[in-house]
Every structure is written in C-alpha cells, then in structure tokens.
Symmetry: C2
Subunit: 333 residues, 2 copies
Amino acid sequence: MMTTSARGHCSKDQKVAIGVDVGGTKILVGYVTEDGHVMESRQYSMDRTSQLSALHSIDEAIDHFLQLFGGGPNAEGIGIGLVGHIDPEAGVWKHAINIPIHEPVHLAEKMGERYGLPVTLDNDVRCATRAELLYGAGQEFKHFIYLNLGTGISMGIVSDGRLVRGAANYAGELGHMSVNTMGPRCSCGRVGCMETIASGGGMIHRAIDLLSSYPQSTLNQYTSHLQTDRIFIEALQGDILATRIRNEALEALQISLTNVVNLLNPEVIIVGGGVSRDKTIVEDLEAYLRKTALPAAANALVRVEQSNLDVGRVGLLGAATLVWGGGLNGTYR
Amino acid sequence: MMTTSARGHCSKDQKVAIGVDVGGTKILVGYVTEDGHVMESRQYSMDRTSQLSALHSIDEAIDHFLQLFGGGPNAEGIGIGLVGHIDPEAGVWKHAINIPIHEPVHLAEKMGERYGLPVTLDNDVRCATRAELLYGAGQEFKHFIYLNLGTGISMGIVSDGRLVRGAANYAGELGHMSVNTMGPRCSCGRVGCMETIASGGGMIHRAIDLLSSYPQSTLNQYTSHLQTDRIFIEALQGDILATRIRNEALEALQISLTNVVNLLNPEVIIVGGGVSRDKTIVEDLEAYLRKTALPAAANALVRVEQSNLDVGRVGLLGAATLVWGGGLNGTYR
C-alpha cells in the first residue's frame, strides 16, 4: 500500500487541486490552482497492454508526482479525466476502448483510499469542456459547443452555463453522427459516420486505403507513420489524394456542424484537439455555417474559433476543476 | 379598446391560467388548472392573410373566450404558445412563416395591457415539451426528447429536468438535420433535410411529385387533398408509392434519431404531433434505435413512445404552464 501523502503545505491562500489527465498513450499529473494556473506538472507513459497495467500506470504516475512534489501545496482533492464512459456520480470508470477497460473500475473509491483525498472522475472531453466553461469560452458565453477534433471526434455541450451530460453521461458522440447514406462503414456498424471521414484516425485510415489508387501521391512516402498534419501540408501543396481527404473531412464537418447548430443553437463553437491546429479548417467551417445554418441559428452564432487554452493542458485543467465546488454540471461560478 | 376583464371569481383553491395555443389554422383558448386539468376551452379560426389579420384573430379569440367565461375562475395570467421564433424573455414574437409574422411583435406587452394580466410567450413545440415536463414524461424522466412529427419536424430537449433552449430560444430544429447528401433540396437551401422526407408536409409533397411515375398508385385519387394518414393506410394495403414514401420517411427518422440519441443520450423519446398517430412508426423507430445507437446510449434509452397527453390539447396545456413559477427553463417542480 502506497503511503505517500498528498497533503503538503500551501504557501498561499489559493485553493489547489491535483489534476490527472489519462490518455491512450500518456498520463499528465499536475497541481492546478483554482484560478486555472498549472503550478507543476509531469508527464508519464501509459502501459495499455491490459486493464491491470493501465490502472497500475495511473497509480505509478500519481505516486511519482507526489514523491517529487508531495511536500508542496495542500491539495483539496484529485480530479481525474479519463477516456471512455464514466459514471461521475458513482466514481466508476465503466468502459473504454483505446485503453482496454472491459470491467467497471471503482476508481474514485480506490484512489480515495490510496491517497486520503476526495477523488472525482469524468470523461476527458467533458473535462476539457469544464476547462472552457471556467477558464475559456464560458467566461463570455452561456451556450457553447466544445468540439474535440482529435484521433476521434466528440463534443461537449453547454446550455445556459451547464453541461449537458445525458442520461448516462454519454452525450456528445458527434463522431457517430451519420451524414452520408453512401459513406464508409464505421466500426459502430452504421455508414457515413463523421468519425470515419473527419477524425484524425479516420483521415489516416482513408488515406492508406486509397493510396493504391493514387500512386503519384506524396503520401505514399509516409504509409506507416502518416499523420494528419502531413495530410494538411500535402493538401496545401496540391497533392490530389491529400486534397481529397482534407476536402471530404471538411465537408463532413460542415454538414454535421450545421446539423448541430440547427439542433442546439450555440453562441460559439470552440474547436480543440490535435486536428484543430489547422486553422483553415476552423475558418472554412465558420464561413460555411454562416451561409448554411438556419438564419436565426446562424445569426446567434457569434463565432467558431480555436480554443485559447493550451491544447496539451486543457484536459489537466478540466480534471482539476472536478475537485472544486459547483457540482458535476459545471455551474461552478 | 377591449375592456372585458379576465379576473372573475375562483370557486376553488386551485391556481388557474389562461392558455392560448396559436397554430397556423386555429387558435385554442382555455382555462387550465395548475395540476393540468383543462376546465373550459374553445377553438377559434386563424385568419393568416396578413400579420395584422393574424394578430386580430388572436385578440378576437381571447375576447370571445372571456366574454363566455370571464365570470369564471380568477386567472393568474395568460400563457401563449406560438409557431415560429419567440423571445420569451422579451415577450416578442420575432418571426414566423406559417403565419406571416415578418415584423417582430411585442405581444406580451400588448396583451398584458389589453387584459390586465401578466402574459408570457413561447414557441409551440417548447410549450408541448413543458407540458411533457410537468404532466407527462417529465414526471418520470429527467433527460428526454419531445419529438414533434407534424406538418414540420422539430423537437424539445430536456436535460437534467431543464429545457435546452439555445442562445436564441431556437434549439431543436431537427427538421433541418441533413442525413443524405443525395437527398431532395430543402427550402432552407441544403439537401437531404429530414423535413423534406419525413414531415407530413414533406411526405405529401414527395408523393405528389412522384405520382406521374406511379400511374397505378391509389394515391392518384387524392392529389389535391392528400393527407399523411392516407399515405400510411395505402402503404399498409401494399400501394407501391405509398410504401416508398413511408419507408423513406422511416429511414430518415431512423438515421436522424440515432444521431440524436448518440448526441444527447436521452432516457426517453416522446413522439407527438399528427404523424405520431401511426403507432408502427414509433415501434419501428424504437427497434431500430436499440440495434443501431452506440451501446451505452442504446442501453440508457428506456423507451420510445407516443405521448400520453392529448395531441389536441398538449399545446394549450404547455402554454398555460408559462404562467406558473419555475421560470422559463421549466424547472418548475
């Protein structure tokens, strides 16, 4: 049993939380102040060979962080953001695919006993949305969408300053919005899902599938280590396959986000995640939505923008906010 | 100036409101008790020749109702449900198409002066969703969708017992979710919108468009007065055109509602509006969603069902609820 205490001494009056951002390949642990400042953080690797190894990686990461900084600030609790399906009220990590969580884990209780602090869990995109609510778009807007364009696609929905979680904390699966009855088959069983066309993973998969039809494409050089950044760069250079992949991704984003704007009438769409680094995608999307959404919804849409928060730390920030008041719906302020 | 007073004498302790449900062809006015009982109601016709004639129709309907029943219960206020785009906080009817409202109308203020009572406005589908929240599905569930299948298609979204209104009270435009990049052109400018395929108006329009290609279809008898009920009856009898129209409508509903379940993770979908009277549509939809939505979302979906509320009075009931406490978000109980 690990006995390292998370309770150190706080030099200031600021409340401090320990945030833990658990991703498919890495774990980020940090001290975060209530006003959103990351005091210390360290990155650890995730061994996702099995459910057991993944849980062990999380323990080890927090243990090591506390050995380094445990004499530091007096943390009020631990907030953990995780991929997959989370029940925040029960503190249970129910299921994940990227990390092989096949049996529900009572992680909040286990971690609470291990570190002697209150522990709260939530989904990683929900955490990023909480970070936007407290430190980003939410300071200005009460109705917004946080669109995560990464390996997968999902979104956080904020209505009247509150998170829309759904019945099982599972709302926001935009990646599985079907927009094309003739589109590619998705792993979920449907056809034409956003994720197969517009996610980082989907774009890479489609490019590799299509390489043999485009022998002239410069993408042929990158087969085994193709990244979306590369697809965007080659599209700008005029490569036909890269242009096709980028344009199809943009078209799927255009259709699905118009659907979202007509359905949810947000003031702002904040784009985060790795793929959002291509600013032209964000600009093209805004121009399209202004033209294509229903007039009352388009008029109410103030802007579409890249997140102002550090893409590498937004999950950590959001996880830390789970510790503070305001409840799980994010009605913190 | 009309001087009929709405203040009469109340024979019981029950709170009473005047509900007004303003549709494209008729206006329903009634006394509704706080527990959802319609004490008296009368239906009036709507003259939608112009904005002025439409507003005059509403005045005349309420005037006549109060002349008949003004000596009755002591109403606390008037709640008005209207088609189109409403700003409930400002009390403004901003825009409508079915009824030609081209200039914003400060209807709450005008009506308040006319009748000496507080007046609150909202959109008709939002009103029906409030009725479900207080007297229907909301008694059992905190996360639900009210799906209105009528001449058009739209929905009300309830998250954690609260209405999701969007930035301009315009959330819920499911009719303009595009689900087919090869679909028919919609009046909104996009292709493949739900409304062109699955709404009552869309189905009739498509049937009439396709009649010349189906000279054997029994629908040829009904050209000028075709109703969706007739399309469903003839589909059951095996008519090929009617079957095609019904199946395409069902497919569009299946795709779009799977998108909605994946996006919003509701416990229940309540189906209201004229087209919902075809119970097989509701049953087919539930079976499809169970099979096709993402597992966590499908598991959380308890059921899809026809509304238990009287389809002819749900708008009136919901309009009356605007009068009582709990605010516009429907957090009444």
